[in-house]
């Protein structure tokens, strides 16, 4: 037995994050850790990785009781963690981040820069990640940052590796690469703990599974003995179907028309339209330009050429304000950076994009605001003490829910959802789909960018596929993953040498 956690407890002020966390991991196994948003998964893992101290309970490492006080101590036992939120130094390069704190040294304490870059480049190449060792981390998309986190952890961990939602912003091929890495680790007899909200990943790599609910271990056992539905039932403590399927709607008129939109070098001659009542999916690999397209439409990035029409009229959108005035809403991909004011209460965050509707003549209506906050925290099951709690103190998935809800609160005619379900649990995913469906039925046009093919197939009426800055295909909603892959795929080498990930 590599690691045993018995009855771990942890509280934050008045909030009990863990009341009875138990888990044991063998060397050479992939152990899944499952649970709803806010169940305590990250907290438990941060205790193992020495980032938080436990309040009670026991941790045995190779049979010995240990108490890890900081990540350096954990690293000395060969424990490393891929974090849910990016904990990278934004102003440093990819290579410097991978080796931060463990740089190869020259005499007199000089850092051997050449070797840092070389070794990082080799690591990146080994895993076919579309990254370059010299890139600065702040320029990377969430997917890029996640890949750097993964490289750093495999560089450091030798006995136990913890992956906290490593694939939440990766697309199919990068996810496959992560699986490849995980299997390689298992073959080298390393223990792996793997947290995910993507159900289709469970069978692909899990050997055993532990389920946390409300800070308590409610199930632990081999993957071969449980069905996915049983795992979900353990997670949520009630019956729930994860299968969502949308009744298609007769689409209305074209609300948004994009013609020959170009922004060198990421967007090339893009034309498509969105129709009222329709959910248009958008698939593609990381770096295909999907996020750039949303940003360009929303006025965050300038465009070189092309026209955008809303309800038939050409519009010039130069800033998010213009976009909002035109009835657009963007649910951005990088929600931690661009979506959440962590120091402010949840309710402030929820109404930030729609203060117009909870105020009159500039005076806020606190009652209306509380009502909205109550409605959406309940709907998306945001786990918080109260809506006055600071958003930064929520679990990762609950922060995502707040950021998404902020845009759902605001009425708009055209919604651009960039990876709307990233990091949120099964129940909440279905809720988000339902809200999207309601919006569409109310006459909104929706573009849904997603790297999860299953959900595109469940929700979208029509799927556009992007490849290397162009729209490479349009498929009906009831298509197959293979079809999408065929449209999206391109030579990986081209991506690594030419393109910056999104």
């Amino acid at each position: 037995m590599l690691l045993q956690l018995k009855n771990i407890q942890k509280r934050f002020g008045g909030v009990v994050a863990l009341r009875n966390g138990s888990l044991d991991v063998n060397a050479g196994e992939v152990h899944l850790l499952m649970g709803e948003n806010g169940a305590g998964k990250s907290t438990l893992m941060k205790i193992v990785a020495g980032m938080l101290e436990r309040d009670g309970g026991e941790m045995l490492w190779q049979g010995q009781g240990v108490h890890l006080h900081n990540p350096v101590e954990a690293a000395s036992h060969g424990i490393a963690m891929v974090h849910q939120e990016s904990l990278l130094a934004p102003h440093l390069t990819v290579a410097e981040n991978i080796f931060l704190g463990r740089e190869p040294r020259l005499p007199l304490g000089w850092v051997n820069r050449g070797e840092v870059i070389q070794r990082a480049a080799r690591l990146i190449e080994d895993h076919h990640f579309p990254l370059k060792a010299e890139w600065r981390v702040e320029k990377l998309s969430p997917a890029g940052k996640q890949m750097v986190e993964i490289c750093r952890a495999i560089q450091q961990g030798s006995s136990l590796l913890i992956f906290d939602e490593p694939t939440s912003s990766l697309s199919e091929s990068e996810t496959q690469e992560v699986f490849h890495i995980v299997r390689g680790l298992r073959d080298r007899n390393v223990g792996v703990i793997y947290i995910t909200h993507r159900l289709e990943e469970l069978r692909a790599i899990g050997d055993r599974v532990t389920v946390l609910r409300d800070g308590e271990t409610v199930h632990s056992g081999s993957m071969s003995e449980v069905t996915t539905d049983q795992i979900i039932r353990h997670m949520v403590g009630r019956e729930l179907t994860s299968i969502y399927s949308r009744e298609p709607v007769q689409p209305g008129e074209e609300v948004l028309q994009v013609e020959h939109l170009t922004r060198e070098p990421v967007l090339k001659d893009i034309s498509f339209c969105l129709r009222a009542g329709e959910i248009t999916g958008m698939a593609g690999l990381i770096g295909a330009g999907r996020t750039e397209l949303c940003r360009a439409i929303f006025g965050l990035d300038p465009i070189d050429r092309g026209t955008i029409r809303i309800a038939g009229k050409p519009v010039h959108i130069r800033s998010p304000r213009d976009a909002v005035a035109q009835g657009l809403a963007l649910i951005p991909e990088d929600r931690q950076r661009t979506g959440l004011a962590t120091a402010l209460p949840i309710s402030y965050n929820l109404t930030l994009a729609s203060l117009g509707s909870v105020s009159r003549f500039g005076i806020l209506d606190h009652t209306a605001e509380r009502k909205i906050a109550a409605e959406y925290t309940a709907r998306l099951r945001i786990r918080a003490e109260s809506s006055k709690q600071r958003a930064g103190r929520l679990s990762g998935g609950n922060q995502q829910k707040v950021a998404i809800a902020k845009w759902l609160v605001r009425g708009a005619r055209i919604f651009l959802f960039d990876e709307p379900t990233r990091g949120i649990d099964v129940g909440a995913k279905v809720e988000v789909f339902q809200v999207m469906d309601e919006l569409a039925r109310g006459g909104a046009a929706i573009l849904m960018v997603s790297s999860e093919m299953t959900e595109l197939l469940q929700v979208a009426d029509r799927i556009l596929v992007m490849r290397q800055g162009r729209i490479s295909g349009e498929l009906p909603g009831r298509t197959t993953p293979e079809q999408i892959m065929r449209c999206a795929a391109f030579e990986v080498s081209a991506a690594t040498t030419e393109e910056h990930p999104e």
Partner: protein, 306 residues
């Protein structure tokens, strides 16, 4: 909760200690002089609270105070008190507006911008006055700084009014909410379609207005328009905000906290005077208190979030 009340408890403790230690403390004369002294800083600090909440800083308020006091009193010499007041307050507002416009349109850090305007505004005051203070002021003007209404110093009423207005502005209006969100995460505010530039500029302009009013109050108290006045006030104002729980990272701060912070600073100064502490030591004590207060606050935040 206890820690959140810490500034408040400190204020009360300070009050009690001074009441016991010095027989002259609890007298009407002394208390009203403390109130008058603190009021000027306090009115400025209210504006600074808004700026700090929105993630900015204003180092030029001391210079704005001098410039608006000077222009106000100069006008008063010829055109009477009312117009003088207006000119003083408009001057302050214009200076604040300039600060806001410069930071938002040049996208320069407000620390740098206001470091620059601190010199510019001060220089303008010195050029206009040729370095000489204004003395010919209508005697009735002294009511603003020295008069009383219902046995309470008139400035305290003004302070109270300003505090209520700014509190309402921050907690109950869209402008205030936007200030908080711009300070906490400017990018999130921008993505949400918040008119970030407009509101940032508005915040600086409002702070300028309050500084202009503080400038007139100061001029009335001293019955001169001093081009060299208000030096170092910016730091006292910032300290008051920070002691009262404001965070220089933005997104945090409150009117009540700032009032308490300013009164703590005021009592410390008054206490050292009464107890005959060497004025050089006064500075050391006040500096120490600032560091102590902020480190307690940081400790509280870290404990809550780790």
């Amino acid at each position: 909760m206890i820690q959140r009340l810490l500034p408040f408890l400190t204020l009360i403790a300070l009050f009690i200690i001074l009441a016991i230690a010095s027989p002259n403390f609890l007298t009407y004369t002394n208390l009203s002089s403390v109130a008058r002294q603190t009021a000027v800083i306090n009115i400025m600090a209210l504006g600074m609270t808004m700026i700090i909440i929105s993630g900015g800083i204003d180092l030029s308020v001391g210079s704005i105070l001098a410039l608006s006091g000077l222009l106000g009193t100069m006008t008063m010499e010829k055109h009477g008190i009312a117009l003088g007041m207006v000119v003083g307050i408009v001057t302050g507002t214009a200076c604040g507006f300039a600060n806001g416009t410069l930071t938002t349109s040049l996208r320069i850090n407000p620390f740098i911008v206001t470091l620059g305007t601190m010199g510019i505004f001060r220089g303008m005051a010195l050029i206009i006055s040729k370095g000489l203070p204004v003395h010919e002021i209508p005697p009735a003007f002294s009511y603003l700084g020295e008069g009383t209404l219902l046995h309470v110093p008139f400035v305290l009423w003004i302070l109270l009014l300003c505090a209520v207005v700014i509190h309402v502005l921050l907690e109950h209006t869209r402008l205030g909410r936007y200030a908080f969100s711009i300070g906490s995460n400017p990018e999130a505010a921008y993505y949400a379609g918040v008119p970030v530039r407009f509101h940032t500029t508005a915040v600086y302009a409002i702070a300028g207005l309050l500084t202009g009013l503080a400038g007139m109050t100061e001029a009335s108290r001293l019955m001169t328009g001093q081009p060299t006045g208000g030096q170092g006030y910016e730091l006292t104002a910032i300290a008051a905000v920070v002691i009262g729980g404001g965070s220089l990272r933005g997104g945090e701060g409150s009117v009540l906290g700032t009032l308490v912070g300013a009164f703590i600073m005021g009592l410390l100064a008054n206490g050292s005077d009464l107890l005959g502490t060497n004025p050089y030591w006064q500075q050391v004590i006040i500096g120490g208190v600032i560091i102590l207060a902020v480190s307690f606050d940081e400790l509280r935040k870290r404990r809550m979030s780790s």
